[in-house]
Symmetry: C2
Subunit: 183 residues, 2 copies
Amino acid sequence: MEQMSRNLAFQLKKIRQQRHLSLDDVAKATGVSKAQLAQIEKGEANPTVSTIWKIAAGLRISFSSLLQAPTAHFMKYSSKDAPHVDEDDGRYRVYSIIPYNPERGWELYKIEMEPGAISRSEAHTEGVEETVTVIQGQAVISAGEMHELLEEGDTLVFSGHQPHEYKNTSEKLTILHLILQYK
Amino acid sequence: MEQMSRNLAFQLKKIRQQRHLSLDDVAKATGVSKAQLAQIEKGEANPTVSTIWKIAAGLRISFSSLLQAPTAHFMKYSSKDAPHVDEDDGRYRVYSIIPYNPERGWELYKIEMEPGAISRSEAHTEGVEETVTVIQGQAVISAGEMHELLEEGDTLVFSGHQPHEYKNTSEKLTILHLILQYK
DNA sequence: TCTTAATGTTTATTAGAGTATACATATGTC
DNA sequence: GACATATGTATACTCTAATAAACATTAAGA
């Protein structure tokens, strides 16, 4: 969320410096106050869309070039911090490893299923694709009329717009990685 | 500028209705208050980036799908209202027909040049492409080392990253259309 | 050295973004 | 018909985005 502010900060500063403009220059070109521009470049601002519009228009650039994430990141997500949700009386546990992010377009979950644990999902909104990999144990995945037994190392891709079901058919704890991709 | 608000209004409402969600549903999913969401959908709000982030993340959509302009427009720009700038003692007049817009990426000018009028431009920032069409009269366009005489109906495209010059070499008023395209 | 100009920073103020709450209006359903 | 639930609207309040102005800092010229 202040992800965005960081992107903006980075991109605006980059463009401004590439063009050898001062804050005053940009303020004049865009109609946004110098103080606000400085705040934005420091990532300490939460500008409104009209401010972003003014900056983009004044600088003759697109939104994407302003909101784009700078390329290389280096960011650790600890599975210890991952929030989790339980189903099936705690025998089916879902951990959010990488939360959804509008720039990325997908999210990653780890799922732990006790033997026999089961989870049913209604169809989600159109355009969701699920990619499940079995890290340990085995599971039967059903989606609509289709069924598939997955064992360690197997991966299944299917469209989430139909009701589907995950079931641990083994005698041990099953662990899955689930990627949800939104169109 | 409230162009943006309109886009947002349109796209948010569209997505919400496609998914059969109420304002309360969206408020719960995104963490943005119902009142604010209502304002946004009416185009009466000027949300901050963090609010847009929350909406996009909560609804699992990208920014572009929120900020995108709805397809068909129907918008008249009157040349009477066009602001204009003079150069060369008023003998070179520039009218902004379509102002720059971050979604569009280009702008359109009409230029009127009295006989003999001349205009020189420094190199603008990298990645600007100029497309000049002679509507009436004739003009010599120079860019860097290149020169070209354009007569009625002729069009020239050149890169604006070098110093360039427009000159009316005819005995009558010359009128140009100039499109500036930014990368 | 002193002055001037150009830059970014800090501060005080105001305008409005965002929230929470209460209100209005349906649409069932018993 | 009365009650409950779900939906969008309107209102009062808080917090902060945005501005304008003063300030600090540096560099350049005379």
